[in-house]
């Protein structure tokens, strides 16, 4: 697996985005799945950037991706900040009206909806989220 590790700061969002999308495009992944990958990546990275290191200053985030012969695109995002399991987060109430709707919580909801598989593990003081996207069409 290829990986890119950089400080968890907003200014590197674009670098991570190009890193993953260039690979995914090279592997011929269709536009719809590219959109989903990009969305999931942004949601998880901004989460790490905003919340992972709030107590202890700054730290890194590492993104890995690979495309397997089983037509699956694998993405993982790791940080060394405070424990956060996105799978434990409660979904926002999507039935509320404009006035009642809370502003937060949508990002993780989108991650769970867009990726075909999401798993989380806390290992050696780090959070690692693994994601898998089933590719239906590979453009050649």
């Amino acid at each position: 697996m290829d990986a890119l590790r950089l400080p968890a700061r907003m200014e590197y969002l674009e670098t991570f985005r190009s890193y993953v999308l260039e690979k995914a495009e090279k592997w011929g992944i269709d536009q719809e799945t590219l959109f989903k990958i990009e969305l999931v990546l942004e949601e998880l990275l901004t989460n790490v950037i905003r919340y992972a290191y709030v107590d202890g200053g700054s730290g890194d985030v590492e993104v890995e991706c690979s495309f397997q012969r089983d037509n699956r695109f694998y993405l993982s995002i790791q940080d060394w900040g405070k424990p956060f399991d996105p799978l434990q987060r409660e979904d926002p109430d999507l039935t509320k009206g404009v006035n009642e709707r809370e502003i937060g919580g949508l990002g993780i909801h989108l991650v769970r909806q867009m990726a075909d598989q999401v798993s989380y593990n806390r290992e050696e003081n780090s959070n690692k989220v693994h994601l898998c996207f089933q590719i239906s069409t590979v453009c050649t």
């Binding site: 949601e43 039935t95 509320k96 404009v98 006035n99 502003i103 990002g107 909801h109 989108l110 909806q113």
Partner: protein, 112 residues
Amino acid sequence: MQVTFNKEGNALVVAVKGRLDALTAPDFESQCSSHIEQGHVLLVADLTELEYISSAGLRSILQISKKLKQEHGQINFCCLSGIIQHVFSISGFDSMFSFHDSVAQALLQYER
């Protein structure tokens, strides 16, 4: 991201081009807010050229909408592409707002 504002009758058409993400959404929100503060409270968001939206973009839309409600205004949407429509739908936005196939249809809602 590029936003163009066009006054059409009593409504303001807001055409968004490009990406509404964590980097661009704050700018989109503040541009819309300043128009709302100038008294434009009936908005049509024309999303024909919107290529990408994340939760940051959705949050900015929700904030704008909350602000409009306070001013007794409203926002409705038109011309969403398939994947953008999908993001709106799984976020529960399809039950909060009205969606149309063209700017003209969206404007009809505001005709007195």
